[in-house]
């Protein structure tokens, strides 16, 4: 085995002169420039500040115990679980874009898949923090893993919370593998364009000696397809398992069979909301308007309409069956959601998730970056409230009026929730700065010029299919 070559034959990166080179240049430049745009610094400073708040509030919660939060019987789950489900859901859009749209041959995904995948991983990291602390003794989470021990103490594998451990950690692992594998060819591009030893060594290390051999591409593509095919049911399973946390219980408002697909649809909905929230500023500040086009925003907004309606369908079904079942507890729960003490949260959820996204039926709105951004943010808010409504209203009003209560968050609840965005955005900004933000190899492969044979359209006149896929030129 040869040692890593520290020999750099290049003085300057090779400069291409065609469409492929322009794609390379457009994307690589972002990670190569000496100084990123001022907006990046400002954003990074803000993100770091918020991250500090996050770390501070977590440390305090760990140091003093989770009594600093507002969790109190009967609402023992409170913010931490709301935030957990919220962040896990955000992650799902990334997998949807990278895996499901890949299987459905939606080539427009290449414009956004890389950073959507990054978003997935960072969101899962944010999500993992909350149950990790909510268990009360964050230094003992290994109790949840099947580690042989002298006490014969095994995890309880029939608990949905244990399923969560497996689902979320599998999801995180596969997402990272998928993300990393997708980046290998792009790391190789970075390596080959590197002008300093540090960059060449660093990117060379992670590119693992990828040189774009066709024999390697063959296995690589097959592996990518298989990973996509595995990630698709996986993403469905993760939020389904999260929904089992609720639906296996007998609590009114939680025990509903539609929860698994409803949670998945909601997760994709919320995740796409976050994708557009990130995509609009990213294309603005990093000059990616030619790669992430208005057309892509429009398509994502259409996905938002569809998933919004699916979520609305589930809300409606829950309500209908609550009445149809004739179960007075179920009936009460839903009336209570809409008109009880948490009505404000319920209607925030309904308006953000079901009403506002319908504005995207208008072409003028779904093609406007500003409107896209605003509605995307509203959806984030709405999806957070959805989890809040599910968790808090049902726990606060269970079977016995004597055990009713009302959840009041403390300032540490708010700081931890807000702070988690600091973690997310810090990671995301670092990603934008140092990693290939767009999957260059994939964008090139869908470029009209990439079609070599067979039914290729006449030269210079790409067919509609190809023009549709084209990005970056």
């Amino acid at each position: 085995m040869a040692a890593i070559s520290d020999h750099n034959p290049f003085v300057t990166p090779p400069v291409g002169d065609n469409a492929f080179a322009r794609i390379t240049d457009n994307v690589s430049r972002i990670a190569e420039i000496e100084r990123p745009p001022r907006a990046w610094y400002i954003a990074f400073a803000c993100a770091l500040t918020i991250l500090t708040v996050f770390l501070g509030s977590i440390s305090w919660a760990v140091w003093t115990g989770i009594g600093v939060w507002g969790n109190m019987m009967p609402v023992a789950w409170g913010f931490p679980i709301v935030n957990f489900v919220f962040w896990i859901g955000i992650g799902h859009a990334g997998t949807l874009i990278s895996a499901i749209l890949f299987l459905l041959r939606q080539s427009w995904r290449t414009a956004i898949n890389r950073f959507a995948e990054a978003m997935t991983i960072f969101a899962v990291m944010c999500a993992g923090v909350f149950p990790g602390i909510h268990i009360g003794r964050p230094w003992l989470p290994y109790y949840m893993m099947p580690i042989p021990n002298q006490m014969d103490m095994w995890p309880q594998f029939r608990s949905p919370l244990e399923w969560d451990i497996f689902a979320v950690s599998t999801y995180a692992t596969i997402s990272i593998v998928f993300w990393y594998m997708g980046m290998i060819p792009d790391f190789a591009t970075f390596r080959d364009r590197a002008t300093t030893f540090g960059r060449r060594f660093g990117y060379g290390l992670v590119a693992m000696g990828w040189r774009g051999s066709s024999r390697q591409w063959h296995r690589y593509e097959r592996a990518y397809l298989i990973l996509a095919a595995l990630a698709t049911p996986l993403v469905l399973s993760v939020h389904s398992v999260v929904s089992f946390d609720f639906a296996t219980a007998q609590l009114p408002g939680w025990h509903t069979t539609i929860f698994p697909p409803y949670f998945v649809a909601g997760a994709i909905f919320g995740g796409f909301g976050m994708v557009v929230t990130l995509a609009v500023p990213a294309r603005q500040f990093f000059g990616l308007k030619r790669i992430i086009q208005i057309k892509h925003l429009e398509l994502m907004n259409k996905v938002l309409i569809a998933t919004s309606l699916l979520v609305g369908y589930a809300y409606g079904m829950e309500f209908f069956i609550a009445w149809y079942s004739g179960n007075s507890y179920e009936g009460f729960t839903f009336i209570n959601r809409a008109f009880g003490p948490y009505a404000w949260a319920y209607w925030a959820m309904i308006s953000c998730n079901v009403l506002f996204p319908q504005l995207h039926w208008f072409k003028a709105i779904r093609t406007s970056p500003v409107a896209t951004l605003l509605i995307g943010m509203l959806i984030n808010v709405g999806m957070w409230f959805e989890r809040f409504v599910i968790i808090c209203t049902s726990l606060a009003r269970d079977f016995l009026p004597s055990s009713w209560g009302y959840f009041i968050p403390t300032k540490f609840d708010y700081l931890t929730l807000g702070g988690s965005f600091g973690l997310f955005f810090t990671l995301f900004l670092l990603f934008c700065r140092y990693l290939p933000m767009v999957a260059m190899a994939e964008v090139k492969a869908f470029h009209p010029a990439a079609h070599a044979h067979g039914h290729a359209p006449p030269d210079g006149k790409p067919g509609e299919h190809h023009a549709h896929a084209a990005a970056g030129v």
Binding site: A2, A3, S5, D6, H7, P9, P14, F20, T24, R137, D152, M153, W154, P155, Q156, F157, R158, F166, T170, I174, V177, F178, M181, T189, D192, R193, M208, R211, G212, S213, S214, R215, W217, H218, Y220, E221, R222, A223, L225, I226, L234, S237, T248, T257, P260, P261, I305, Y313, M317, I321, Y324, G326, M440, A441, K444, A445, H451, H453, G463, E464
Partner: protein, 836 residues
């Protein structure tokens, strides 16, 4: 790491030749060059491209990788690991009773089985890709070729190794020149890069390895040695809390105790209990011989006393009160000296005892040893409970209700019930040939349609007639027949509604690949009005108030039934009729709209037609989702009007999507057998339809499992009752059949792309799946009337009749016009469609 090893070729002399590198500008160039090199018989060569070039695998002669098999193996071992892990830990090594389920109960173990399968398969995919690709591969002679840097940017390279047996520097160069490269360059062996790891790195690795073992060694040592010093509290972990423990010393009080005795004469609120007679059984300092006036000796009190006696007294005193309870007998056997035998309650001593004294004894306050309040609760209370309350409120382990057996299904031979699809090929009808620009194919069914219509309609009429006849002969006023008909109708509904969904979806997402298939889907969707007519046998009895299937149709049965009265606002004949009219009316309108527009497109080719269909498809999808959900509620779920599931609409929808793909595949095969669409529809289209069939087989399992598992897990009687009917006895076998036949077997059957690309195997799985859809419908409906599964001829005839009716309806529509939308702007792309 330093620059000492920087290249210095001059010092080491000329390096031997490693190979020849050629550079190309476009993907087409590299593909054609690859063909040349492949045909010249080279073996040690490769091409390098910035992205996977389409078609280069074939041009280079790369064989299919074995990666998928490795992944399959890994996935199966993940599954096996999950099963063994969960069985060993929770079911065997430390059996654990959870919510009254069996120790080893599969449904609750499925999520982790799934996750570990995916985890193993996914990680293996990545590692196997690296290993097969010989990565990481840090240094390569090509790294030193300046132009090769563009291999990851915009240029395409071909490299032939000098080690290839056919390699000859001059000849090979000539051969490469014939492929029109931009440049050809000789590449030399790399002598600059050392093969050895730098010693610094080796030392560092050794040190890190040794150091990382130290904590483990310390932990191991701590486990096997003893120490007098307390353990180190790195984490406080609530070990030291500012509180007083009961038996600890406490400097606050003069007596040094933490535990405080209440002040004498302290009485807790509500516990003064002045009434001696009631609370202590004493009347004027003697045991009372009568019951206290506040205590009512009535029937209820007697029964409660008997029940309490059964629970608390019989263990020692026995059922007859003779002092021979189980505990007493056991104690006698053990002959323990400490045991005081329970007294015989039939003794004169006890019988003559004042009531108050007996009460006092039971309450555990007398010198007598009878003290359920201490023996049972281990709690010696200073005051007794009133006689009307249990002596102690111990929560006894509640007897477990009999509960559903672990879910599932059993494999069983499932007779695939075949659609009556005519099979014989007839000579092609020349008049049906229509040319499309750039290509020609037979796209009209012509006279075949008429023949098919006559045959199918004939079969439909005969079968349905015979079915009705058999139903009448059953002599139960068509009750049994109606159930069988509903099950068959479920399949017909799934096919028709599924087709409508499919067509709407293709328009909604502007699908290109499916244009050649679209018309067939439109034609089957257009059966909606026919289906509306065929629903009359289900609708009319409801309107007449006849509860053949639907109990709620009968006013007399609704009256007095709390749940049915509650639901009567929805489940009543009038509203039912309105809803059915809405469902079938909307479906009829929508399917006619698509077919009409699509055919107008054939005639005018108007560019505005495709967008107009797309525009309608958005709102149409919303209405479709609602109508199909409520139709499933009305027709299928309300067969048992007490049962409910929010998921039910989605569950039926899964069958719809499965059925439409089966229908499309079989219809296309039939058409191709008749020589129609022979060139338009290719293996690629079948492959795609097969993939959807596969995907929705999994989707059905996902929905079905989630619905079942949630109800099984929560175990609420009003929901489990429905599954209870279906999970025991013969219906249990049907459930197992569904698990294996509807999911496990077709999952492995349809996994391989070769099966989806082979017409015979694909057709087999289509027949299999539609049979499973029918079994599913049968399983939904028939348990309502048959205690055990009892397939009768009239059920099968109804199915054959209904499916034939659909075929006849489709044949009638197909005969009229083209079988593909000839002027759709996306047709060309659909014809040229290829899978990855």
């Amino acid at each position: 790491m330093s620059h000492e090893t920087a290249p210095s070729e001059s010092e080491t002399g000329p390096a031997p030749l490693h190979g020849l590198l050629a550079e190309y500008k476009t993907p087409s160039d590299i593909v054609s060059a690859s063909r040349t090199i492949r045909d010249a018989g080279f073996s040690r060569w490769d091409t390098f491209t910035p992205f996977p070039v389409h078609g280069i695998d074939k041009a280079m002669g790369i064989r299919m990788t074995i990666l998928p098999w490795i992944v399959l193996g890994a996935g199966l071992s993940g599954l096996a690991t999950a099963i063994l892990l969960q069985w060993w830990t929770n079911g065997y090594d430390y059996p654990w009773l959870i919510s009254g389920k069996p120790i080893w109960s599969i449904p609750a173990n499925v999520p982790i089985m799934f996750e570990l399968t995916v985890l193993f398969a996914g990680v293996t995919t990545f590692i196997a890709m690296l290993v097969l690709n010989n990565l990481p591969f840090p240094s390569h002679p090509l790294d030193f070729v300046r132009r090769f840097g563009r291999s990851t940017d915009d240029r395409f390279f071909l490299f032939i190794e000098a080690a290839d047996p056919k390699f000859d520097e001059a000849d090979t160069k000539v051969l490469i020149d014939t492929t029109h490269p931009l440049a050809v360059e000789s590449v030399f062996e790399d002598r600059a890069t050392s093969d050895k790891l730098p010693t610094g790195i080796i030392y560092a690795l050794v040190i890190v390895t040794v150091a990382s073992a130290v904590p483990f060694a310390l932990a191991a040592k701590a486990r096997y040695t003893k120490s007098r010093s307390p353990r180190i509290h790195i984490i406080q972990d609530m070990d030291f809390q500012p509180k007083y423990k009961a038996q600890r010393e406490n400097p606050v009080f003069p007596d040094g105790r933490s535990t405080r005795v209440p002040d004498p004469e302290t009485v807790a609120v509500g516990e003064l209990r002045e009434d001696d007679h009631y609370w202590r059984g004493q009347d004027h300092a003697a045991f009372a011989r009568t019951f206290p006036p506040t205590f009512r000796t009535d029937e209820a009190a007697m029964q409660r006393g008997q029940q309490r006696f059964g629970i608390y007294c019989t263990p020692c005193h026995g059922f007859g009160g003779e002092g021979n309870g189980m505990v007493a007998k056991r104690a006698d056997e053990l002959a323990q000296g400490t045991w005081t035998p329970p007294s015989n309650l039939t003794d004169a001593r006890i019988r003559d005892m004042p009531v108050g004294e007996i009460f006092n004894t039971i309450a555990g306050r007398s010198s007598s040893t009878c003290a359920p309040s201490s023996a049972v609760t281990r709690r010696r209370s200073p005051i007794s409970s009133p006689p009307s309350a249990p002596v102690c409120e111990t929560t006894m382990a509640t007897a477990k209700k009999p509960k559903k057996s672990p879910a599932g299904a059993k494999s069983g031979a499932s007779e695939a019930k075949h659609e009556p699809a005519p099979k014989k090929s007839v000579p092609e009808d020349a008049a049906a040939r229509v040319d499309v620009p750039g290509f020609s194919d037979s796209i009209r069914l012509g006279n075949e349609a008429g023949a098919l219509f006559v045959k199918a309609a004939g079969v439909a009429v005969i079968c349905l007639g015979a079915s009705v006849g058999l139903g009448a002969s059953a002599g139960d006023g068509f009750r049994r027949w109606s159930h069988g008909y509903l099950a068959a109708f479920g399949v017909a509904l799934a096919i028709t509604a599924g087709s409508l969904f499919w067509v709407t979806l293709q328009n909604l997402v502007n699908a290109r690949w499916s244009i050649v298939v679209r018309r067939v889907g439109e034609v089957f969707a257009a059966n909606a009005p026919l289906l509306g007519v065929l629903s009359l046998p289900l609708v009319v009895p409801v309107l007449m108030g006849q509860p053949l299937i639907y109990v709620w149709a009968d006013k007399a049965k609704v009256a007095g039934d709390h749940l049915l009265e509650h639901k009567a606002g929805y489940l009543n004949p009038g509203f039912f009729l309105v809803r059915m009219l809405v469902y079938f009316g909307f479906w009829t309108w929508l399917s006619r709209f698509y077919l009409g527009r699509s055919r107008r497109q054939d005639e005018t080719g108007g560019p505005e037609i495709a967008p107009s269909m797309a525009r309608v498809s958005g709102p149409a999808m919303i209405l479709f989702g609602l109508t199909v959900t409520f139709c499933a509620f009305d027709l299928l779920m309300s067969v048992d009007p007490r049962w409910f599931s929010t998921m039910f609409g989605v569950y039926f929808f899964a069958s719809c999507v499965l059925s439409v793909h089966v229908t499309l595949i079989l219809a296309l095969m039939w058409l191709q057998q008749k020589g129609r669409l022979a060139k338009s529809v290719t293996t690629e289209h079948y492959h795609d339809l097969g993939k959807m069939l596969f995907a929705f087989t999994i989707f059905w399992a996902y929905i079905g499992f989630s619905q079942f598992m949630l109800i099984w897990y929560a175990n609420i009687p009003e929901e489990t009752a429905w599954f209870k009917q279906r999970f025991f006895g013969g219906w249990g076998n049907v459930s197992w059949t569904l698990l294996f036949g509807h999911f496990v077997i077709p999952f492995f059957g349809l996994l391989s792309r070769h099966i989806k690309r082979n017409k015979t195997t694909l057709a087999f799985w289509c027949f299999w799946m539609i049979a499973m859809v029918y079994i599913d419908m049968y399983w939904l409906v028939l348990p309502a009337i048959d205690v055990e599964p009892n397939v009768q001829l009239m059920d099968v005839l109804a199915l054959v009749g209904l499916l034939s009716a659909l075929v006849a309806g489709a044949a009638r529509e197909m005969g009229k016009k083209n079988l593909i939308p000839t002027k759709d702007p996306r047709l060309e792309q659909s014809l040229a469609f290829e899978n990855l």
